[in-house]
């Protein structure tokens, strides 16, 4: 009991070193690699080599502040706020459609402009979905095995959110959102039969989504036949592979990569891992995978040891969301999955992604400080 008490005296932020250290290392490494990857692009676009790294430094500082605050606030406060959070996610997603608020970038309306700051509602939606599902699955725990209680309503919610996000369009976020929903229902004890019933529904849906929209087709073909057309559709994937491949075991050294010099598009965002692969080699890539592994294993343990079911489900959801983001991004850069447009948490350039991921880690830390006795 005494031991428990001393542990409780430590602030949750410092209690979960298995999360804090890896996150700090990844974010720090992210700054270095974002600078290395973006310097040339930044110079030709903005006339200074430091445009992106400076912005990311600000995001990093804000991110740690957000993580600290989230770790300090008792997570149980999120339970009654679940509906508010969900509704605001809907509002944000809808607001993207409003001219003047929504910002078009790269052919899609994925951004919301709020007082000079750009913000990606789909990133927030992932966190909101985790909190709401934890709330809902916890509330319905008694009847979780019933199709119309434990399964179907969540599916409808997912469908509604997906429709909004797909209209941006942003298939990648929908896939992650669907996988989070599926994973959390699985953890919460939804019947496997119900979960499995999704498979025959999802496959034609994805098929339809891919074949209806030409650029997704292109991306899919690019993924399948990258080397057949390395100049056009396979451009990103082949250059990502060239980056990894030319990095070898220990890499060329930080700053010495060639692919970021306007060969590989998005070197500081979606394909930051390829640049790490080129400059730090297999060694660097494996260390990064291990760092994520430590956070994720710690997340799973926090979920298992949480003092309430809401805590367990929230922690599991946050961990699943992070795991999906990491594995899908890594899979894409290594050519195992078609191009998705997802960032690598903590490492990639991008404010919303970083702040939301940090907030999630803060919540996870707080849950970690509330263990069942």
């Amino acid at each position: 009991m005494a031991q428990n008490k001393t542990k409780k005296d430590i602030h949750p932020f410092l209690n979960e070193l298995a999360i804090l250290f890896p996150v700090a290392i990844l974010a720090g490494l992210g700054l270095i690699m974002i600078h290395s990857a973006s310097a040339s692009i930044s110079f030709s676009e903005h006339g200074t080599a430091f445009h992106y790294v400076q912005k990311q430094l600000v995001f990093c500082a804000l991110g740690f502040l957000v993580m600290f605050i989230a770790a300090s606030v008792p997570y149980k406060i999120l339970n009654p706020l679940a509906y508010i959070i969900l509704v605001s996610a809907f509002i944000f997603l809808a607001a993207v459609k409003i001219p003047g608020l929504g910002v078009k970038a790269g052919g899609a309306y994925r951004w919301l402009k709020l007082g000079g700051m750009s913000f990606q509602p789909s990133e927030f939606t992932k966190l909101a979905m985790v909190i709401f599902l934890a709330y809902s699955l916890n509330k319905k725990q008694e009847q979780i095995h019933r199709f119309f209680v434990g399964f179907f309503p969540h599916l409808i919610l997912l469908g509604l959110l997906s429709l909004l996000i797909l209209s941006q369009p942003d298939l990648g976020s929908v896939v992650i959102l669907g996988a989070i929903t599926w994973g959390m229902m699985f953890v919460a004890g939804v019947r496997l039969l119900h979960l499995a019933s999704l498979i025959p529904i999802i496959i034609p849906l994805v098929y339809f989504q891919v074949y209806k929209i030409p650029y997704r087709m292109e991306r899919l073909f690019a993924y399948l036949y990258a080397w057949d057309d390395p100049q056009d559709t396979g451009y990103q994937i082949t250059h990502s592979l060239k980056a990894f491949g030319s990095g070898g075991l220990f890499g060329k050294g930080i700053g010495l990569g060639m692919q970021k010099l306007h060969y590989l598009p998005e070197p500081h965002t979606d394909f930051i891992l390829s640049i790490i692969g080129e400059e730090l080699g297999l060694f660097g890539v494996l260390i990064i995978l291990v760092l994520y592994g430590i956070i994720l294993m710690r997340g799973a343990r926090i979920a298992k040891e949480a003092d309430t079911l809401f805590g367990t489900l929230t922690a599991a959801g946050l961990t699943i969301a992070l795991a999906l983001q990491v594995t899908i991004n890594t899979g894409v850069t290594m050519g195992l999955l078609p191009t998705k447009g997802l960032t690598l948490p903590f490492l990639s350039y991008g404010g919303t992604s970083l702040l939301i991921s940090m907030a999630g880690m803060g919540i996870l830390m707080n849950i970690g400080s509330h263990k069942k006795s």
Partner: protein, 579 residues
């Protein structure tokens, strides 16, 4: 606020939940291992193959050509240099607003806007916009900071002294290859070394290498000409004045050092600016003094006279009957401009009697005449270092008829280049030795060390010294009172020369009555000639006598050159006390 769970069921569900979390943990481990394996695969097993594929894109083997060497005059004054400039290019893939960019660039660079816009909208990753732009153009473009537009280092050949000696140095095309003159003839030496190097470039085609430094390191040799810029300028001005004053078609002037064969000036009119040579007719580019032979007219008589004395057929005082200005050779009749009865050999030269020259040639015979002209360097290449060294036309004496022999003795039916003529005159001036005419003094490497010196080369002794002195004396008489070139008489200097007034061959075959070549070849001072000067004026429409059209220009060149070279006067003249 409380989760509201019943404690009994919670333990049970917790167990199930933890089991499912554990299952997901294993799934995660499995996926992470899969990713790690894939990383090992591409970064170790496929590494060399992927590296090769990557390097193929950004590693290029290129040939770096050394910067082209300079061409300078004998005092190291620069005539042709290579300067750094910029060329502007685009990566159309990165161009944001092709239409606006094309509009601005077309304005600044004066290029076709539609064509440029089409280029900027293409799917290529590299297109040239304009090569070798001016500094003010590049400044303007830099201000706009267009996306996808960038500069490449380039080189431009520049003649700081513009028209000066342009036909001698020649010109270089935008590809760095010499097209005319020394630029053409010594292209390889000027170009310097080239080296293949490996360079890295980014997707926009920009290079990251030491290419520019290497270009300077591999710089070609410097060619030092025998030309003296000042004398070249003097000659060009005097020639231009003669050509303009007499409304002639064109003209040439050469200044040579008789003792060494070095050419100090080789001027041509009309001139052209080699910095924008494409704006001028091609005809003006070449070094006509070397490439374009002409009929030399009476200037040939000095060689006939020299041969007659060398062969001891005549002395300066030997007299010849000049047929009262009319002499039949075969079916043709030859006229003198003035009617003479008897003339000494000296007078034949002084008054330039055609009939007198014919009489001499009849005595020595066509074989001797042919051999004489051949030994003075006519009918074969002069050996100068310029391209297109013309041998002129001197057919074999076997094919000469009586009238051919007669005509050749006064410079018809034979053609010579200006450099051949001044070289032959120099042989008389220097006391009888034919030198190889030279335009290159030496070749220096880029550090200024002499790589190859060019020394005076005597081809052979053509006439004895005593004969040379006799010929010089006759040529002096040409300039003195009563001679054909009194307008070349220069105060204080003993100018010796011989005029030529050659009818040009007309298109119909015979000789034209209106188109002439007026020329005057001279040297001074008589005893030890410092300079030999030839001025040739082509087709002066009114007065066509060499002594009227060409002689004043020669005098001007002597006068100003002697002043510049600080060569003291060698004779006292009546006008001395006027000064």
């Amino acid at each position: 606020m409380a989760p509201g769970k019943k404690p009994d069921s919670k333990a049970k569900t917790n167990q199930g939940i933890n089991a499912r979390i554990t299952f997901l943990q294993w799934a995660l481990v499995f996926v992470m291992l899969l990713l790690a394996m894939k990383a090992v695969d591409i970064q170790i097993f496929q590494s060399s193959e992927l590296t090769q594929k990557a390097e193929k894109e950004y590693i290029r083997q290129i040939t770096v050509n050394g910067k082209r060497g300079d061409i300078v005059d004998r005092n190291m004054k620069k005539l042709c240099i290579t300067i750094d400039t910029l060329s502007v290019a685009a990566n159309p893939r990165m161009v944001v607003d092709a239409s606006a960019t094309a509009k601005k660039l077309a304005e600044i660079l004066g290029v076709n806007r539609k064509k440029l816009q089409k280029n900027l909208e293409s799917k290529k990753s590299f297109v040239w916009i304009k090569r070798k732009i001016s500094p003010s153009e590049s400044e303007k473009i830099k201000k706009y900071n267009f996306k996808g537009i960038f500069f490449k280092d380039d080189l431009i050949r520049f003649h700081p002294q513009k028209e000066l000696a342009a036909q001698v140095t020649g010109i270089t095309g935008s590809d760095g290859k010499g097209l005319e003159g020394i630029e053409f003839q010594y292209n390889k030496i000027l170009n310097g070394e080239s080296r293949r190097i490996t360079i890295e470039k980014d997707a926009a085609g920009r290079y990251y290498s030491e290419e520019k430094d290497l270009r300077d390191k591999l710089k070609g040799d410097t060619i030092v000409l025998t030309i003296d810029s000042t004398i070249q300028f003097i000659a060009e001005k005097a020639l231009e004045q003669a050509v303009t004053e007499h409304k002639a078609k064109s003209g040439m002037a050469i200044v040579m050092i008789p003792s060494t064969g070095e050419i100090l000036a080789m001027a041509h009119a009309p001139a052209f600016n080699p910095n924008s040579f494409t704006d001028f007719e091609r005809d003006r580019w070449r070094n006509r003094s070397v490439t374009d032979p002409f009929e030399p007219g009476s200037t040939m008589k000095v060689f006939v006279a020299a041969a007659a004395m060398e062969l001891e057929i005549a002395t300066p005082m030997s007299i010849f009957f000049c047929e009262n200005g009319k002499y039949r050779v075969g079916r043709s009749t030859v006229h003198d401009t003035h009617e003479y009865e008897w003339l000494t050999l000296k007078q034949i030269i002084k008054y330039s009697s055609n009939i007198g020259a014919i009489k001499l040639s009849e005595i020595m015979g066509k074989k001797q005449l042919y051999n004489t002209l051949l030994s003075f360097g006519f009918g074969k290449e002069s050996g100068i270092e310029c391209p297109g060294d013309s041998p002129g036309l001197l057919s074999h004496y076997d094919r000469w008829s009586a009238i051919d022999t007669a005509a050749i003795s006064f410079g018809q039916g034979i053609s010579v280049s200006a450099v051949q003529l001044i070289n032959a005159i120099s042989a008389i001036a220097n006391g009888g030795t034919l030198m190889r005419p030279r335009i290159i003094k030496e070749i220096k490497d880029s550090n200024g060390e002499i790589r190859q010196p060019f020394v005076p080369e005597s081809i052979k002794r053509v006439i004895s010294k005593s004969t040379a002195i006799k010929v010089k004396d006759m040529m002096r008489a040409v300039v003195e009172e009563g001679g054909t070139a009194t307008q070349a008489d220069l105060n204080g200097y003993s100018v010796c020369g011989k005029t030529g007034t050659a009818q040009k061959v007309s298109k119909s075959g015979g000789y034209s009555k209106s188109r002439y070549t007026a020329l005057f070849a001279a040297f001074a001072p008589m005893e030890n000639p410092e300079l030999a000067v030839l001025v040739v004026v082509d087709e002066p429409p009114k007065s066509h006598y060499g002594g009227v059209v060409a002689a004043p220009a020669v005098k001007k060149i002597f006068s100003e050159s002697f002043h510049y070279l600080k060569i003291p006067p060698d004779i006292n003249t009546k006008t001395e006390h006027n000064q």
